[in-house]
């Protein structure tokens, strides 16, 4: 496993989430498959990314809200799942990797808040001077960019190391079985897909569009 690739991609994903660009490479749907691609196994990344994206859809980063950071956790979980699955698709390992990511994203989110607290001190060091030094303001701002990159890299690498250790320990011996794991992941995916409706005014406001979409989905299921 290339820890450098994990750290660099984790840093970039952490940066994209808020601090720079926000072109959405930090979405699990993108971050996890790209991590998989960097490690030579994109499909494992897709498996992790799609599931985590369904969970991340309903999280809205509004105002000063504190929210879990899904991107870096998805990168960490993908790295761990690739290490544990040994080239095959392992639903039981996938379930564990996804659960780990859903817990780890809270730690990643807490690291964002910690950095924002630290930024307060950085910003105060500029504001406290009279007259304010514009060059210092620029330096502080760019330092905050670099710190966020470092934060993203750190939480991703630590998360990847932890999830790799957990999955390695769990892979020794029988578990809940692939069928149960697949069933649980199906149920979770369906619940979160349904939950996304709350973003668009819910069932009562969009009945017609939902039913029309469901008919199209069913047709695609039957045809495909």
């Amino acid at each position: 496993m290339s820890w450098l690739a994990i750290a660099l991609w984790g840093g970039a994903v952490g940066l994209d989430a808020t601090a720079f660009a926000q072109v959405m490479v930090s979405r699990p749907l993108v971050a996890a498959p790209v991590m998989g691609l960097l490690l030579g196994r994109p499909l494992e990344g897709v498996a992790v990314g799609v599931l985590l994206e369904l969970f991340a859809l309903v999280i809205l980063p509004i105002g000063a809200a504190r929210y879990p950071e899904a991107g870096t956790a998805a990168v960490a979980a993908t790295a761990g799942y690739i290490a544990a699955s040994g080239g095959e698709q392992r639903p039981d390992m996938l379930l564990l990797a996804v659960v780990f990511a859903l817990l780890w994203e809270r730690v990643c989110g807490a690291s964002v808040n910690a950095l924002r607290r630290f930024n307060e001190r950085l910003v105060a060091s500029v504001d406290g001077r009279d007259p304010l030094e514009p060059r210092r303001l620029e330096r502080v701002h760019l330092t905050a960019v670099a710190l966020d990159f470092g934060r993203g890299a750190l939480v991703t690498v630590v998360g990847a190391a932890l999830v790799t250790a957990v999955l390695a320990a769990a892979s020794a011996g029988p578990g809940i079985g692939d069928d149960v794991a697949v069933g649980m992941l199906c149920v979770a995916g369906a619940a979160m897909a349904g939950a996304a409706l709350s973003l668009f005014d819910g069932w009562s406001g969009r009945r017609f569009a939902v039913v029309l979409g469901a008919i199209c989905g069913l047709i695609l299921l039957i045809v495909g």
């Binding site: 808020t18 601090a19 660009a21 072109v23 959405m24 979405r27 749907l29 993108v30 499909l43 897709v46 799609v50 994206e53 369904l54 859809l57 809205l60 509004i62 698709q89 379930l95 996804v98 859903l102 607290r117 930024n119 307060e120 950085l122 910003v123 500029v126 504001d127 304010l132 514009p134 620029e138 701002h141 905050a144 966020d148 011996g173 578990g175 809940i176 149960v180 697949v182 069933g183 992941l185 199906c186 149920v187 369906a190 619940a191 979160m192 897909a193 349904g194 939950a195 996304a196 409706l197 709350s198 973003l199 668009f200 005014d201 939902v210 979409g213 469901a214 008919i215 695609l220 495909g224």
Partner: protein, 244 residues
Amino acid sequence: MLWRSFSIQASWNYRTLIGHGYAYALLPVLRAIYRGDPERFADAVARHARLFNSHPYLAPMALGAVARMEAEGEDPVVVERFKTAVRGSLGTIGDRLVWAGWRPVCLLFSLALLMVGATWWLAVISFLVVYNVGHVGLRLWSYRLGWREGKRVGEQMRRSGIATVQRVLPVVGAFLVGMAVPLAVAGRHLSTASISVGQSLPAFWTVIAIVAAILGARFGARVRGPVILMLLGSSFFGLLVRLL
């Protein structure tokens, strides 16, 4: 200035929110306006480094408008009043338009693509391209509008097509949710990654998945916690089985 606006949230903090990022983005313009007068330059930077908030994609509108006002020598009190007036609406409009509209619609479209059998890279690239056409387009549009209209930008914004887009996006989003639910119930989100679902899976999982989708639609984001707990519980059970 537009390029700098891409990092406007980098020094986000609980004291000035994106205030410092705003001043950082505005610096090249202020430097040009107050060339040869370092005191007024430092004073202008200090004024703009105070509390400010906005949706990051619409912040260029406030940047453009304030740059215009500063260039025209507007009274600092008026500039400050303008910033206070727009910061709430730029945040609310952007959150609703982008975070709760454009982004989930683009994501659901790409998820649906994946679930109907498109290759993963096509789904990922189509998401990035479609989403960022809207993203960069919004930044460019808002910057130009701000620069062109100056302090009258609010009036022009009300006349723009944003309200129409805000009405259309939820309909498209609800349609895509409706489409994604049966595909997810059938486990297509797993088969995108070559995990076989269907033949070996007892039918009761499908029934549970349908009930879960209905509960999800009924309770929205509130089901996230219970679903995570369900997955966590089953994982612990699995680990316990291994240990015993």
